[in-house]
């Protein structure tokens, strides 16, 4: 283990990027960047995103809080995806969040280009749930 670790030292929870592990490191970083960016945005400027709040819960005093909670969920998911121990759970959470987002877009606007983009992210996140992680990186399901 020590030998393996020293040959592939981790950086901030992720193993150092190499051609051997890029296939599972880069998708996690990509998903995390997207989720973290939108999560922070929703936390700091919830008004900007109120248009996506479903009509059923829109217009209440706690609507903006709801957006912030969603932002916190996104940020937490982003962090989990990056952390080896929680990578798989994070990917599962990301999949569920993107499914919720896609469903909301379908119900509100039908098929749009935004839906197509988010569906692509959804498949990417879902793939991370089943990705066979290298043995040296413990993750949620077996770590």
């Amino acid at each position: 283990m020590a030998t393996s670790s020293s040959s592939r030292p981790s950086v901030g929870g992720l193993p150092r990027l190499s051609s051997a592990n890029a296939g599972y490191v880069l998708p996690r970083v990509a998903i995390a960047v997207v989720f973290l960016g939108f999560g922070i945005w929703e936390l700091l400027d919830p008004q900007y995103w109120t248009v996506y709040v479903p009509g059923l819960v829109a217009g209440h005093s706690w609507t903006l809080r709801l957006v912030q909670v969603h932002g916190l969920a996104l940020a937490t998911t982003a962090t989990a995806v990056l952390l080896p121990r929680y990578a798989r759970w994070g990917a599962l959470a990301a999949t569920l969040l993107l499914a919720e987002i896609c469903l909301d877009i379908v119900l509100a606007n039908g098929f749009t280009s935004v839906l197509l983009r988010d569906a692509g992210l959804l498949v990417l996140a879902a793939a991370l749930v089943w990705l066979p992680y290298p043995a040296e990186e413990p993750h949620g399901s077996d770590g």
Binding site: P15, L43, P46, T76, N109
Partner: protein, 203 residues
């Protein structure tokens, strides 16, 4: 040496959640957001009887309303100098018999979400608010222009309105979150609103 101690991951995750909660606690979101300008302005119009259909014709639900006015509708008040109202029943679906209460756009909470789009040139913010629409501005006669908003998404319908020189047309966009560059994905927060020379809602 273990590269990823499980305890460290849990600590990091917990830290992110705590920081997020702290941000929520320290940065209260403020007053309730008008998530749908169209809905609430319609409600205002109903509550106060609006200015004879003060409900703005939204792009989403007006189905491309082409106002049947003749150079611009005016509110049915003594001070109005224009012709009869264009959409008497737009707000409530029935005829209005009581004298309506006038609503000044800049006195509503939509003031800060309103972008002037009837001018010949648009500000940067107005252009951004109109993302997803192409604005055509053509002069009909010496005192009237026609503003047409053509949506770039084919499922939405166009909006066209006549605006007299003493009137102004604003576009309400409460949230830019749905506006990708040159694209509009959610019309529920958008509404063109015409006001008279004093700033009162006309349509």
């Amino acid at each position: 040496m273990s590269p990823n101690p499980p305890g460290r991951d849990t600590t990091i995750l917990g830290l992110v959640i705590v920081v997020g909660l702290a941000v929520m606690a320290l940065a209260p979101p403020g007053p309730v957001a008008p998530t749908s300008a169209a809905r609430v302005v319609r409600a205002n119009a109903r509550d106060g009887s609006g200015s004879a259909g003060a409900a703005p014709s939204t792009v989403a639900d007006s189905g491309g309303t082409h106002t049947p006015d003749t150079g611009g509708a005016a509110t049915p008040t003594a001070s109005s100098t224009g012709t009869a109202t264009a959409t008497e029943t737009a707000g409530g679906g029935g005829t209005t018999t009581s004298r309506p209460k006038r609503i000044k756009l800049m006195d509503t909470r939509y003031a800060k979400y309103s972008y002037l789009i009837s001018n010949e040139t648009l500000t940067n913010d107005a252009e951004r608010a109109l993302d997803g629409f192409r604005r055509n501005r053509t002069r009909v006669n010496a005192s009237t222009v026609r503003i047409t908003l053509v949506p770039e998404e084919p499922q939405y319908k166009r909006y066209s309105v006549l605006v007299r020189d003493d009137q102004k047309l604003y576009f309400i966009e409460t949230s830019f979150g749905d506006d990708a560059p040159h694209r509009e994905t959610q019309l529920d927060d958008d509404a063109p609103v015409k006001v008279d020379s004093d700033g009162y809602l006309v349509q």
